[in-house]
Symmetry: C2
Subunit: 225 residues, 2 copies
């Protein structure tokens, strides 16, 4: 019985890692489709999002079943609670990747972002992909050092997001209405990955330390819009 319980706890963590890997792929493909205007790749991101959703559901179901059958305490309980609280963030990251892919598909064969802003979006995409990969590592190893790295990337994302606003609000910047609207939303999406990743780092710290203050709901989100 005890052994089954331990296996189930492993399974919870394995599923978290598995979902995070799929989110990583979604972010990589969505930002690539967006930058290169690749409609087929965008389509694949949109099609694959339901897999993330259903894995997140099945993780929640497993977590609830463990709570009901095993009545875990201490560190085991913290793992289950953290998983329940993280699955939504991972699922949202998948949704955001889907939104970015949809933007790419809507504007195909045009590129979504006008020339003068592409470097900034490339940089945001690079940070997003790197962060998603660190998130998978964090969920696998539960090492607090990775938390710091993720938060540093989030700060950089916030700064880039603010710089996109400076550009789109500058009337001298050549761009039509559609480009302004698309860049506004796309920048927000690229930046939101960071907020969700930071939110997950808080849950991981709670799991590791048992210190609830680390998991505070207080907004990690920049107000730069």
């Amino acid at each position: 019985m005890r052994e089954v319980f331990q296996q189930e706890l492993h399974e919870v963590q394995d599923r978290l890692v598995r979902i995070s890997e799929l989110v990583e792929v979604a972010i990589k493909n969505a930002t690539t489709a967006f930058r290169k205007s690749d409609a087929a790749l965008a389509e694949s991101v949109i099609d694959n999002d339901s897999e993330i959703d259903s894995l997140a559901d099945s993780l929640d179901e497993l977590a609830i079943a463990i709570l009901a059958r095993q009545a875990p305490v201490a560190r085991d309980l913290r793992l289950i609670v953290s998983a329940l609280r993280m699955s939504t963030s991972l699922e949202r990251m998948g949704d955001i990747a889907e939104h970015i892919a949809q933007l790419a598909r809507y504007r195909f064969p045009e590129k979504v972002i006008p020339k003068g802003m592409r470097d900034t979006f490339d940089e945001m995409a690079e940070l997003d992909v790197k962060m998603a990969s660190l998130l998978t590592k964090l969920l696998r190893d539960m090492e607090p050092a990775v938390v710091t790295q993720i938060r540093e990337l989030d700060d950089k994302l916030d700064a880039l997001h603010a710089s996109v606003f400076d550009m789109v609000l500058d009337e001298s910047f050549k761009a039509d209405r559609t480009a302004v609207v698309d860049a506004t939303l796309a920048s927000r999406y690229h930046e939101r990955f960071g907020d969700h990743a930071v939110s997950i780092t808080k849950k991981v710290l709670y799991f590791i330390s048992g210190d609830f203050s680390e998991t505070a709901h207080s907004s990690s989100e920049s107000a730069s819009e």
Copy 2:
């Protein structure tokens, strides 16, 4: 002991209702500040958001403490799990109200939204306020009939959000860059309340029925951008 447990379960539900009431006030004040360009009211929404955050934290703490001490099962377990999964959505609704208030404050004493779009935003605000009030009612009474009402309002919000995009993308619509960017973000914020409310309705249905399929993560969000 049993009596304490029942009291604690009531306390969980009471706190959910209390947070929802605060979210309701935040949405009402934020959308009013936004429409009337009322900087003081906007400031109050921004100041009060931390109360929602800390109540959401304390709800999570209570829920985890009950799981550890009481090992609830069946309906009691479902209440606790639902509370853990709903607190984040409520907290996010508070954040979004804060974003709307920030937009109002940034543009003060100007109004954020250009004349031709104000009716649409007024309508969205009215739907948001009505929905927030229904959400409080739902969390208090746990009546499935209210779920249908909330989802109908969400559909209306989605349609209005799409109509804002039609307006801002129309080059003949007179608006400067700032207005285009602000309207894009503001419309997205107004519409996001609906997505979070629908997400909460799924958790309530799970609590009532114990049927997990009702709580599916699958995106309730419209892709209208």
